[in-house]
């Protein structure tokens, strides 16, 4: 392979690629450590020209490409498969902020820009990014767009899809698709960038994008609500959304088991709860209301919140403690073996039934099963992860995984939800996708893929 690549490598800068397998192997394993693949070479293009060069060469020689951002995919979307002769294009060196426009409130960033770095750069302007996700310190904008990443800000600013004004991408044949616009209205036929958003790297590589940015609100107040039953949580959700409407910037659910896991990471952390379900609710002062704290408390006095068990943060320090509890669940969960994850979406009015039905069926399957349930209730998105508290060999794991997935996904379909809310399909959910979508939908997806990628070299083995 290196022989074939030689003419390409000559034209690249020396630090734009790496051929050492000792280093490459670190880029071939996914964040959860469940997908381990192999790659022939690892590219680190420093500019768009180099991306074009690499893509043109690979197209000509029919070499399969795995685009990679911060490699934080939870579905094995950003790592190569085993011994398929794939190469990785890692975007981390293509990380410039091209333009911050505080008048039209837009930012143009390169694909490898780390989300947190972008947020930090906007901070002095009093502006913020439309997305915030748990992996913000490592994930990259290109990957965020390619996976239509959800996260904590969807309730506040909408999905990433609704915040993208323009995209620059290199298509599989090496052609540069440039549609970097900062305008908000643009009805000119099919909107091709919408296909690239959420394509998981199967249609091209996003090298830059223009996103809407927002005035950073001056303050927020975080509350923790605890309930014993999930249907009480939904009742509280109704009352709170009715009364606080547009001030709500997050409405996150956590079950008792997932919160207790955090003690494994930090046993000094003071958990402010009692009950089986907790919600983290963030109210943001978008309207610059004077004495926001009093305003919120007065509102709680107006309506009948009497029965609700709520704790209200007294300071930004407490806001941060409450958020830490929510954000550290995935890290605490990572310490456990045998966790089978599901990132599902359900109609809000059926979430309680889904949780009750799935939980009782799973307990029947094995009493050593525990549910780690958290997620973005405000976006109808549940992380319904199943922990099997047993030592399992590979065969036993596969068997129980199959049975668990069957229970969870059959309930998702029964209650008209989605098998992947925000994590995407990648390698993990490929088989289930076929059951979940109609034959016609799959056929059209394959046809679209062929238009962009006739040779099937872009991130093969992902989605379809």
């Amino acid at each position: 392979m290196n022989k074939i690549l030689k003419p390409l490598l000559k034209t690249l800068n020396k630090n734009e690629f790496c051929t050492e397998q000792g280093i490459i192997k670190n880029y071939c394993i996914d964040w959860r450590g469940k997908f381990k693949g192999t790659a022939e070479i690892l590219f680190f293009p420093k500019n768009v020209k180099s991306v074009v060069k690499i893509m043109k060469f690979c197209f000509k020689n029919s070499i399969s490409i795995v685009p990679q951002g911060g490699n934080t995919s939870l579905v094995g979307g950003s790592v190569p498969r085993v011994n398929k002769g794939e190469v990785i294009i890692n975007l981390s060196k293509l990380n410039k902020i091209r333009e911050i426009d505080p008048i039209s409130n837009t930012v143009t960033l390169e694909g490898g820009c780390i989300l947190q770095d972008a947020s930090d750069k906007l901070e002095p302007f009093g502006l913020e990014m439309p997305i915030s996700i748990g992996s913000k310190g490592s994930c990259q904008i290109g990957g965020n767009i390619a996976t239509n990443a959800g996260g904590l800000n969807v309730i506040k600013y909408g999905s990433i899809r609704s915040n993208i004004l323009g995209i620059e991408a290199v298509l599989p044949n090496g052609e540069l698709h440039n549609d970097l616009k900062t305008i908000k209205k643009n009805n000119t036929g099919f909107d091709l960038k919408q296909l690239l958003i959420g394509s998981e790297g199967t249609l091209g590589i996003i090298t830059a994008a223009t996103l809407k940015i927002y005035k950073k609100p001056s303050e927020r107040i975080v509350l923790i609500l605890s309930t014993d039953k999930i249907n009480e949580t939904l009742e509280a959700y109704k009352t709170i959304t009715k009364n606080f409407g547009e001030l709500i910037s997050a409405f996150e659910l956590m079950n008792k088991f997932s919160v207790n896991l955090i003690k494994k990471l930090d046993n000094k952390l003071k958990l402010p709860f009692s009950g089986n379900y907790y919600c983290l609710i963030e109210l943001t002062n978008f309207l610059d209301i004077k004495n926001f704290n009093n305003f919120i408390i007065d509102k709680f006095g107006e309506v009948s919140f009497k029965k609700m068990k709520i704790i209200i943060a007294k300071s930004e320090s407490e806001n941060k403690i409450f958020w830490r509890i929510r954000e550290e669940i995935p890290l605490a969960e990572k310490l456990l073996k045998n966790v089978i994850q599901h990132d599902v979406s359900l109609p809000l009015n059926l979430i309680d039934k889904f949780i009750e039905k799935s939980s009782s069926s799973l307990k029947k399957l094995d009493p050593k099963i525990f549910i780690i349930n958290f997620g973005h209730l405000g976006d109808n998105n549940l992380h319904f992860n199943v922990f099997v508290d047993k030592i399992l060999d590979n065969k036993e794991y596969k068997k129980i995984q199959k049975n668990i997935n069957k229970i969870v996904f059959s309930n998702v379909i029964k209650y008209n939800g989605s098998i992947s809310a925000e994590h995407g399909i990648g390698q993990l959910r490929r088989k289930e996708l076929k059951k979940f979508k109609s034959d016609d939908e799959i056929k059209k997806m394959v046809q679209i893929k062929k238009i962009f990628d006739p040779k099937g070299i872009m991130n093969p083995g992902k989605i379809i």
């Binding site: 001056s218 003071k270 408390i297 609700m308 068990k309 704790i311 209200i312 007294k314 941060k320």
Partner: protein, 251 residues
């Protein structure tokens, strides 16, 4: 034992401070304000003493504008009984002025313990407790990390001093200032916040106290700290050692 807890409304600890463009002070418009964290520890300690039957009443005192009521309410939601707001408008208060006002309130309230944070995180003065002790002629126990009431009514206070801990015994009435490790303040629950709304806050106009609280200091200029220089990358370990030895002079 009656406790008077003095609390200050300050810019929240987590807010990035911005200096005003004319360098006369820092921006406070549209900035999140909270109770000074050390004062929050003082409130918590008083509430714990009350829960253990050692304190009979907790009065929260704050000096400032109307907005300081919100800070008093926070203390009431944590478990204090009532509040006093001494209203001061358009004047930059210094610890001496604050001390004089607290002394005046003490004469009216006769608390047996005056407890407050060791310092406020905005001006970092660390003077008010000491000044109050001087003006009232009460003993002082500063930087408290542990508080115990003895049977004879005196208090044993453990203080965090350089290189260790010192335990002193003070008679009441006394002034206590709290350090970080004294306790961890509780969260405020909605029912307690609602109860706090019903509790009384008395407002006193500072000018009615006839005190000279005018500033003794003149602020010449407020500046940002110097910007931190970016780090550098060294090619290898020997280079790093060389730089640590000759440039940084740390090894």
């Amino acid at each position: 034992m009656k406790a008077l807890v003095c609390v200050k409304r300050v810019i929240d600890y987590n807010v990035k401070i911005r200096v005003k463009s004319d360098k006369t002070g820092v921006e406070t418009d549209n900035v999140k304000m909270s109770m000074n964290p050390f004062d929050e520890i003082a409130v918590e300690e008083a509430v714990r003493l009350k829960e253990n039957g050692l304190v009979s009443e907790i009065v929260i005192l704050s000096i400032g504008q109307d907005s300081s009521q919100e800070t008093i309410r926070t203390g009431l939601a944590m478990g204090a009984d009532r509040g006093i707001l001494v209203k001061v408008d358009d004047i930059l208060l210094e610890p001496l002025g604050v001390g004089k006002i607290i002394k005046e309130v003490c004469e009216k309230e006769n608390p047996e313990m005056i407890i407050m944070g060791k310092q406020a995180i905005d001006d970092d003065c660390n003077q008010t407790g000491q000044i109050v002790a001087t003006l009232t002629n009460y003993p002082q126990a500063t930087f408290a990390s542990e508080l115990k009431k003895n049977e004879d009514g005196t208090l044993n206070v453990t203080r965090e001093v350089d290189g260790g801990l010192e335990t002193i015994k003070v008679k009441i009435p006394c002034v206590v200032t709290t350090d970080l490790r004294l306790n961890e303040p509780r969260y405020a629950s909605l029912p307690n916040i609602m109860k706090a709304k019903q509790k009384k806050i008395e407002t006193i106009e500072s000018k009615d106290l006839n005190l000279d609280i005018s500033p003794r200091l003149e602020v010449l200029e407020v500046n940002d700290p110097p910007e931190r220089k970016a780090g550098i990358k060294v090619p290898d370990v020997s280079n790093l050692v060389e730089k640590l030895k000759n440039e940084a002079k740390v090894i």
